[in-house]
């Protein structure tokens, strides 16, 4: 494929790809997300390949291992296009029947379609889990082969980059992001435009833009779903960001423990370079940009921005205090603009369709959609995408299907070990950065853990603090010792051996750690504790006054 040199050539290439495709061609999309991969989806893909070969149809029928479809609970999922017939929990043994019935004769294999108390749904869009979502970022996951840039181009990919580079000055791109009110999806919810502007204005010839794809939070798996399903979407956002900020180099920082993610990103980088979206004089605009993949060894604190940047330099990921922001002084003390995977993926949408359109989705202070990963005691564990402003109740019951077996939900927990828990009665709260912050359950990256009545909140708090204690880098005393001391008290309460004054001690420790710790990990370490003390205080009191276990 020749290099694409202008916006016009990009359009011609896209038309060419579309013209060469028969929309009636059978395309079998097998989900290859993390859960489906762990449920032996590979054997399903092999079975389809063998079946096509056996029948001599390997040209007529395309089999694609796509990114995560989101409905992990019922994986491995297979969608047969163009009709969009959706089969769930597919085993290799089901493949000949799917082939004989659906692929060749357009009949439905009833036993493999979704059904619930309200009936069955044959097509993907009819399944309530999908019907109730607003899929701007994830919809491509089901349509494209993450290994083929042509598939992304066919969906309009790199069109936003062309628009930015050929029709807009960097300041205008920045202004558009500011107008969109896009907020960082990684945890803090910091306005992306403000961060970009700081990096743009910071003195220095060399600047960097960085994708934070660390995703170390337990129960958070939306970023890898997005990144593995549509790597070019994230990369396009990064290149646009580089242009707006004035950076000619980018880093993609991600986990080492997924060889497939590594392969996916590396291939995407190579393809983007081949097509001329990376390298010198991109789309004849005079803008040069390169991006490199940096693999992380795996510790929670590496996801903290200053620690992550140390790691890129080849040093241990110990955070530093941020009197000076990393957007002013980051990697090798140069201005470094870091956003997470989902934030970057929003950028092409905003530049492509405009900030005004983006502002029609979401709430006053939280615009756009948000990916949420549902886990724990929930019937439909998986990844969903909803407009900000959707109530937690709709997410947990409408999409998640409530707790399995009709059990009662006691609490939901947002934001992993640095987040907070909310009781069931607050589920009517809309998904909104500021509202959830105010309730003590900041959204974090969007990992939502659902807990039923059998979960002890004191025990869960201890679990989160133990996690953080193990992941703390140990550099600053408030975090290292503060967490340890909180754990001592918690373990006593959990064993029914709490004593008068324990709650006050916990609150004091939480206050000091929150004030004095060096980085966000330490500062937010007590968040689960404070939220459970706020909403489930009686469980703590039970372990103190009554000398019995909290639950």
């Amino acid at each position: 494929m020749p290099r694409i040199n202008t916006a016009l050539e990009l359009e011609e290439t896209r038309s060419g790809i579309l013209a060469g495709r028969d929309p009636r061609k059978t395309r079998i999309a097998v989900c290859a997300g993390a859960s489906c991969e762990a449920s032996a989806n590979g054997t399903v893909i092999c079975a389809f390949q063998e079946e096509t070969k056996k029948r001599g149809l390997d040209v007529e029928i395309e089999i694609v291992a796509t990114g995560c479809h989101g409905f992990c609970e019922r994986g491995p999922q297979v969608v047969v296009y163009p009709e969009g017939v959706c089969y769930q929990r597919v085993c290799p043994g089901d493949v000949p029947e799917i082939f004989g019935e659906t692929v060749l004769n357009k009949r439905i294999v009833r036993r493999l379609v979704y059904s619930d108390s309200e009936g069955e749904a044959v097509h993907l869009e009819e399944i309530p889990f999908y019907r109730k979502q607003q899929s701007l970022l994830l919809k491509n996951n089901r349509l494209i082969d993450p290994g083929k840039i042509e598939d992304y181009l066919a969906q309009g990919g790199y069109g936003a980059l062309a628009r930015a580079l050929t029709e807009m000055r960097p300041e205008e791109v920045l202004e558009e992001i500011k107008l969109s009110k896009l907020r960082g999806r990684g945890g803090g919810g910091f306005p992306a435009g403000a961060k970009w502007e700081t990096a743009r204005r910071a003195p220095g010839e060399i600047k960097y833009v960085i994708v934070n794809g660390h995703e170390g939070e337990p129960g958070a798996f939306m970023d890898r779903a997005l990144f593995m399903g549509n790597p070019h979407g994230v990369l396009e956002g990064l290149i646009i960001g580089g242009y707006a900020v004035g950076a000619r180099e980018g880093f993609i920082y991600t986990r080492h423990d997924s060889p497939r993610l590594k392969a996916t990103v590396e291939r995407a980088l190579a393809q983007a370079e081949e097509y001329g979206f990376l390298g010198k004089n991109i789309l004849n605009s005079g803008f040069d940009f390169q991006a490199a993949l940096h693999l992380d060894v795996g510790i929670f604190v590496s996801g903290e921005s200053s620690a992550l940047m140390k790691s890129i330099e080849g040093k241990t990921p110990e955070p530093r205090s941020k009197y000076v922001r990393t957007s002013v002084s980051g990697v090798w003390e140069r201005p470094s603009c870091l956003n997470n995977v989902e934030t970057w993926a929003n950028v092409p949408l905003i530049i492509g369709k405009g900030a005004a359109w983006y502002n029609t989705i979401g709430t006053e202070g939280s615009k756009g959609t948000k990916l949420v990963s549902l886990s724990g005691n929930i019937a439909n564990a998986g990844v969903v995408e909803v407009p900000l402003g959707t109530t937690l109740r709709e997410i947990v019951y409408g999409l998640g299907g409530g707790a399995p077996g009709g059990r009662k939900i006691k609490a939901v927990h947002f934001g992993g070990p640095m987040g907070g828990s909310l009781p069931e009665r607050l589920l009517d709260t809309p998904l909104d950065f500021d509202l959830l912050d105010g309730l003590g359950a900041p959204m974090g990256a969007g990992g939502l853990l659902i807990m039923d009545e059998e979960v002890c909140m004191v025990g869960m708090t201890r679990y989160f603090l133990e996690f953080l204690s193990g992941e703390s880098c140990g550099k600053c005393v408030p975090c290292r010792e503060g967490i340890r001391q909180m754990l001592k008290v918690l373990r006593a309460i959990e064993a029914g051996e709490g004593k008068e004054g324990d709650i006050a001690t916990l609150e004091k420790l939480a206050w000091v750690t929150g004030k004095a710790a060096l980085c966000a990990l330490g500062k937010s370490a007590a968040a689960p504790l404070l939220s459970t003390l706020r909403y489930f205080r009686e469980e703590y009191e039970a372990g103190i006054d009554k000398g019995k276990r909290p639950l």
């Binding site: 991969e37 992990c72 060894v297 724990g376 853990l449 869960m460």
Partner: protein, 150 residues
Amino acid sequence: MIDERIRGIIDRHRGRPEAAVQVLMEIQGLNRWLPREVLTEVSEKLGVPLSDIRHLATFYKTFSLSPPGRHEVHVCNGSSCRVRGAKGILDEVQNRLGIRSGETTADGRFTLEEGNCLGCCSLGPELIIDGEHFGRITPEQVDGLLKKYD
């Protein structure tokens, strides 16, 4: 005596101190642990003080400074697996193998770790043996699964 393949990894990054983590990661991936003489070699060839190399090697849980068992058993300790009963699975594995998390059986057959979340939360509670996932398992299934590995 250092394995030729390990030597190859080190040589590829000779004189590049910033590649230290990368080199340790590659060696860990290949050899499953980092012997002392390998750390010394990495230090000398990359030009990084041994104390810094040891700092890196002990900082990350991913790096192992002792040889692991033939099979690596991970009980996922993510928040979702936990509320879905991971503790019961871990207790059962510990009882069956007679070791605690982080230890290796005396016969060198198994090393047990409490793994971090791998994002397959819908499959919890999860037991992962040598990278193969066993999802939605019960304590009763543990013994049968372990017996498949010798």
